[in-house]
Amino acid sequence: MLKAESIYKRFPTRAADLIVLRGVSLSLDVGQSAVIVGPSGSGKSTLLNILGTLEPPTEGRVLLDGCDPFSLPPRELARFRNRSVGFIFQDHHLLPQCSVLENVLLPTLAERRDDDPTVRAGRLLERVGLAERLDHRPAELSGGERQRVAIARALINRPKLVLADEPTGNLDRGTAERVGELLTELHQDRDLVLLVVTHSETLAERFGRKYELVDGTLEPR
């Protein structure tokens, strides 16, 4: 369902172009999860951003459910990302001015829908163990709680693909454990593709398929 074909990514510099990804290909079906590991600067986040349609590849193609999002005009591309992709960042990027519930509901503002997402948001927060913290502000939450809110936010629009970029990178070991657990449980509950980029071997162990990005190429581990 997620298919990346020969993805290249180059960045222009004062000298020669910097090639970050060299013909990366990847294919994951619904219900599958995968983890990508690799040293710093290997291009993990770049690959994740390309798969998440945040930036286009220099070469190659990404297909999600058979659709090439980069062929869409910008507005459609944004809509596609809103409907189909959920992001979990290392920095949770919660809006400090909004409550927990409002942060989860934030993606639903991008597009008008018929159903009321509030109930779904409530359930998601209940699922991530924050049912009692709906009205709290991010500043009133611990690091793990914030990341759990970010996970709920990633799932609010029932995406087909969830991308997590170092989701436990800023957490202590215990909290990281619980967040990793939550991620795998949520993935199992839903028909979606989960792709995680991490340095953490512990977290990497939780997922079915493992890849390593070395010198711009993706290799199974």
Partner: protein, 1131 residues
């Protein structure tokens, strides 16, 4: 969750940053709306004052002659609707303290006047008669007069006979009344009664009408009617006036001469006004009666050319037309049985012929007085061929050829004559007295009217050309019937306006004048423009800074599937909510700001408007416009501040990046900036061309638009420079290297740096451009080609001087003392005729509806002088002396006029070649064509036309009342004092041209100070922006600064580093502002380099630079005082 929840949350969470943005919007709205409110207030206050001073008066008839006071009751449709009054200008002196005030409004009224008041304070009780006066407090304060004090009131004496004719009494033109102050009333309402709107409080003296009538010897007569009538009553009033007008109101009488069977139409003015003569002829033609035109004149001597020793002194000579009619009636003597009377011929009566022993064909020589334009008498002569001698009987024995002239025609003997010209009693013989006893003013000679008018009617079209028009009844018709028929036909044909009898819609005129000469809304908006732009830039800067702090939020929204446009709209809506709140608050602040500006104009800047009555007037439309425009400006600013933000890579935004570091972006920014700079320079050049070459655009438009364009060009140039990558590494060590590094740091956030420098530049532009426009008073020695025209003094008299101050004879006639004569030796006077009215100078805020007009004599035109900004001169002679342009006669009858450039541009809103429409002395519209513009002249309040045009337009204005005086500068004060002392009867006030020019300059300079304050507010915004940017930069670079500290740089070194960046921005802004201001004011500076205050200009630069640096320092020190090392750990 809805968008509005998100907006509400964001507004609340980021309230500090938002507050700063909202305050920027408040500042912009306050400046914009405040400017509109200042305009509203100026207009409202001017209108209020002008209308308040009219009371209930809507129309006024102010006649150049006295007429029956009873006309008021005859015209009035309701009781007390019309108030008869005498209005005159004069001077006032405290009888004991000797304090003097000139240009006093003398108002002769009775109880009807006070009923025209609108307020309770107007209900004054004034005795109906008696030698008392009520003063308004403006006059009383200046005189230091209190009730019970005596004052001397000097006014011009109305003379029916023009002082420019031989019989006009030039030695009796003023009157001094000693009156006791009965009361002092506040100078408001009718206490400040004035028909001519002026912002300065009028100095009014109210005298019982009867007292004034007696003193002026005008019993039951007035020169003014004040009318309380609806606004549309003009036509009905004119019709009623025409219906009730009598010959007496026109100074005309129909003298029935039963002896000689005719009716003589005569005037109190001795000469029949041309309009009245034309009307009389037209009426006579209409009723089919014959007329004989007569011009009687006094011959000083009649002699036979061959025997000059035989002289008949002081004889009346009658010039007659048609001569044939006269010949038919006269009885010839035997000497000439059938005399003729052709051009160049004369008939003598038998008494004169016998006395001179004259025979037919003798050359008869007449000598007579002729009056020069400045009241100088000269004796001319003319010779005629004696064509006949007539018997002294029948029509030839008619003393009625000469109209009544008190002091002469009613004298018992020739020796008792009291004429206004020299009379040599020694030459009068007994037989002359005997002739007077028997025949009085019976003419001794007759000539043709053509000859008479050629010799004796100096200005026939203005002063008149007949002394009477005789009406001969139709056969079978009685004299009484003819008289009645003629009077009816005459009044039917007369247009009262032609003789200056028309109702002036004073209330409408006051409303029009209240609109003001200057659009203060526009002016304040114009000078607030840069302040508003500064506020907009500050809003953009602060909003951008706020959003940049939330860049990861923007990145998140983009990652969550919001389109860039959607995210931008979200932020824009948030910004607009802020702007909405800011603009709403700004409206309240605007009210306070306008109030403060008006308070300033009443106190600190009082010299600009010279009026204490300004108060706040606001119109809802100004608030609506202010709110909407402010919102629009804020929207544009905020939208502009968001540009490019959502185009940043989402990943970068999520990481908190706020600008692309890619060289291509910097390069593109530089290219765009260069293009903008070039386009702006082109626009500024085009504007200059249109202004100074083709004159298609006004200079004020060029100042604002050209200034803006140049400012944009400079700022774009700065942006271009900041966008270029530095080629070399920073070298050196110590403070120099740190300074270089600091200067380079200004390139890191080009947008911020440009906006900050732009704020400083805008303020610098306004402050320095205005500073350069300030005018210094001219030097002590007046130069001919300067604003003083080389004259040390100018003077104006309330009563025109009937004699020439330049001649000993004229000065003697004016009764100047010997010491005055000594003081005035070597002093030259250039007289002007004056039609008083509204000043067109910057001292008058009201729109001049009836501008002052000066008639320049040949002496002035020949002398030339002053500096011309531009003229319509075509020939070399005209270029050499543009005053000669005043003599031009245009085929379209437009009258050439010279005026001051400032007055034309700002008061009259016209230009060279433009036309002004004024009403002449007969109420007819006359076009004045501007042929020359004086630069920075002392004649700013005047429109100057040639005397020959003046006398045609304003025939009733006699004498000269305005003078430019060429006196040695070291002697000027003494001359000034001497003139005021010696000519107090004429209420002459002299002033130094240098002082007057300084007064005018003070107005301009005070306006500039006012607008510089706006520039100062802009500078305040600039420093706020500067401080905000500096704080933000320090916050962003705390890690970097901490690293430098870790590397061994001291805190002082870090302060120096950041201050260098600040210095670069301030200097860049200062240079950009200076460059723009310099180019805009260059033409001005080139033309009056000697008047530019360079010293204060330099001080201004230093002050701006210091302000910018202090603002930076104030932001910098506390920011760097916080510990930096935690920032390093965070990195």
């Amino acid at each position: 969750m809805r968008f509005r929840t998100l907006h509400r949350r964001s507004l609340g969470h980021y309230w500090r940053a938002h507050l700063a943005v909202a305050l920027g919007v408040v500042a912009g709205t306050a400046a914009l709306t405040g400017a509109l409110l200042v305009g509203d207030s100026m207009r409202g206050s001017l209108r209020e004052a002008a209308l308040g001073r009219l009371g209930e008066v809507d129309y006024a008839l102010i006649a150049p002659r006295f007429f029956r006071a009873a006309l008021a009751e005859e015209i009035a449709e309701t009781p007390n609707q019309i108030c008869p009054a005498i209005l005159a200008r004069g001077g006032c002196t405290h009888a004991d303290l000797r304090a003097s005030v000139e240009r006093v409004n003398v108002i002769g009224v009775d109880e009807r006047f006070w009923k025209l008041g609108e307020t309770s304070t107007d209900n004054q009780t004034m005795p109906a008669a008696g030698r008392i006066v009520i003063l308004n407090d403006a006059l009383a304060d200046e005189l230091r007069a209190a009730p019970g004090d005596d004052i001397l009131l000097r006014i011009g004496k109305p003379g029916a006979i023009s002082t420019e004719t031989l019989l006009g009494r030039r030695d009796d033109t003023t009157l001094t009344l000693r009156l006791t102050v009965h009361g002092i009333i506040p100078a408001k309402g009718l206490g400040a009664f004035s028909l001519n709107p002026r912002q300065a409080l009028p100095r009014n003296a109210y005298v019982p009408l009867v007292t004034l009538q007696r003193a002026l010897r005008q019993p039951d007569r007035v020169n003014t009617l004040l009318v309380d009538a609806p606004q549309d009553a003009a036509d009905s009033l004119a019709a009623l006036l025409k219906q009730h007008l009598t010959l007496s109101d026109l100074g005309l009488r129909l003298r029935v001469d039963k002896t000689h069977d005719h009716i003589a139409v005569e005037s109190e003015a001795f000469l029949l006004e041309p309009v009245l003569e034309d009307t009389a002829r037209s009426a006579a033609d209409a009723i089919n009666i014959q007329t004989t035109a007569v011009l009687a004149y006094l011959a000083n001597t009649i002699t036979v050319d061959a025997r000059p020793d035989d002289v008949i002194p002081y004889s009346i000579v009658a010039a007659i037309a048609p001569a044939d009619d006269l010949l038919r009636c006269l009885i010839p003597t035997d000497v000439t049985p059938s005399p003729t009377l052709l051009t160049g011929e004369i008939l003598l009566n038998e008494w004169a012929a016998r006395d001179l022993q004259a025979a037919p064909d003798n050359r008869i020589r007449l000598s007579y007085y002729v009056m020069g334009p400045l009241g100088e008498l000269r004796t001319d002569e003319a010779t005629f061929r004696l064509s006949g001698v007539v018997r002294l009987e029948g029509p030839a024995a008619d003393p009625g050829f000469t109209p009544e002239y008190p002091g002469v025609t009613d004298s018992d003997s020739v020796a008792d004559w009291n004429p206004p010209f020299p009379l040599d009693l020694r030459v009068i013989r007994d037989k002359d007295e005997a002739y007077w006893d028997r025949h009085r003013t019976t003419p001794k000679a007759f000539v043709t009217l053509a000859d008479g008018q050629r010799l004796w009617a100096a200005q026939p079209e203005r002063l008149g050309r007949l002394t009477s028009l005789r009406l001969h009844p139709r056969p079978g018709e009685t004299l009484e019937t003819t008289r009645a028929t003629f009077e009816c036909a005459f009044l039917e044909r007369l247009d009262p306006a032609q003789v200056g009898l028309s109702f002036d819609a004073v209330r409408r005129r006051a409303l029009a004048a209240g609109e003001g000469t200057t659009d203060f809304s526009g002016l304040f908006l114009g000078f607030s423009f840069f302040l508003i732009i500064s506020a907009a830039m500050l809003v953009a800067l602060l909003f951008r800074l706020g959003v940049e702090r939330r860049s990861s939020e923007v990145g998140l929204l983009l990652a969550l599937g919001f389109s860039p446009r959607h995210v931008a709209r979200l932020l824009l809506v948030e910004g607009m909510m802020l702007a909405g709140i800011g603009a709403a608050v700004g409206l309240f602040v605007a009210r306070g700001y306008a109030w403060l500006m008006l308070a300033g104009l009443r106190s600190w800047w009082a010299e600009a408007v010279n009026t204490p009555f300004l108060r706040l007037h606001d119109s809802p439309i100004s608030y609506v416009i202010g709110y909407c425009v402010s919102l629009l400006v804020a929207a544009v600013s905020i939208a502009w501040s968001l540009r490019g933000l959502t185009r940043m890579p989402t990943r970068a935004l999520l990481a908190g990046a706020i600008q692309s570091g890619r060289p291509t972006v910097r390069g593109r920014r530089g290219t765009i900036a260069a293009i903008i700079a070039l386009v702006a320079i082109g626009l500024a050049g085009l504007l200059s061309t249109l202004t100074f070459v083709t004159d298609a655009v006004s200079q004020s438009v060029t100042f604002f638009l050209g200034g803006t364009a140049l400012l944009i060009a400079c700022i774009a140039g700065l942006s271009c420079w900041l966008s270029t990558e530095p080629r070399a590494a920073v070298r050196g060590a110590g403070l120099v290297a740190l300074s270089r590094l600091g200067a380079r740091n200004a390139r890191r956030r080009v947008g911020r740096s440009v906006l900050t420098a732009g704020l400083i530049a805008a303020a610098t532009f306004v402050i320095t451009a205005l500073q350069a426009m300030r005018l210094d008073a001219p030097g002590e020695t007046p130069a001919k080609d300067s604003g003083t025209g080389g004259f040390a003094l100018l003077a104006e008299s309330v009563v025109p001087l009937p004699y020439d101050l330049n001649t000993p004879a004229g000065r003697a006639e004016l009764n100047l003392t010997q010491s005055a004569e000594d003081t005035l030796a070597g002093v030259t006077f250039i007289p002007f005729r004056l039609r008083d009215g509204d000043e067109t100078s910057c001292l008058n805020l009201y729109r001049p509806t009836k501008p002052r007009v000066l008639g320049a004599t040949d002496a002035m035109i020949e002398r030339g002088g002053f500096v011309f900004s531009t003229t319509m001169a075509e020939s070399d002679d005209e270029r050499r002396n543009p005053w000669t342009l005043l003599r031009q006669d245009y085929p379209d009858e437009a009258v050439p006029v010279i005026a001051d450039e400032t007055a034309v541009l700002w008061q009259l809103h016209s230009k060279l070649g433009g036309e002004l429409s004024i009403a002449d002395g007969r109420g007819r519209d006359t076009r004045l064509r501007i042929v020359g513009l004086l630069k920075g002249s002392v004649l700013q309040g005047e429109l100057i036309i040639a005397e020959e045009h003046f006398t045609r337009l304003f025939p009733s204005v006699a004498g000269h009342a305005f003078f430019l005086i060429d006196a040695p500068p070291e002697n000027a004060r003494e001359v000034e004092a001497t003139l005021e002392r010696e000519l107090a009867n004429y209420s002459l006030a002299a002033d130094s041209t240098r002082r007057r020019l300084a007064e005018l300059f003070v107005v301009q300079n005070t306006y500039l100070s006012t607008f510089q304050t706006l520039g100062g507010l802009g500078l305040l915004l600039g420093t706020i922006g500067l401080a905000a940017v500096l704080l933000r930069n320090i916050w962003e670079r705390r890690g970097e600064l901490a690293l430098m500290q870790a590397l061994g740089f001291s805190r002082t070194a870090l302060i120096w580093l950041v201050l260098s960046e600040n210095c670069t921005l301030v200097a860049a802004g200062l240079i950009a502002g200076l460059l723009s201001a310099g180019l805009v004011v260059a033409p001005h500076a080139a033309s009056r380099g000697d008047l530019i205050p360079w010293a204060s200009l330099m001080m201004m630069f230093v002050a701006i630079f210091a302000t910018g640096m202090l603002a930076g320092l104030a932001a910098l020190i506390p920011a760097l005082r916080a510990p930096l090392l935690p920032a390093l750990r965070a990195e």
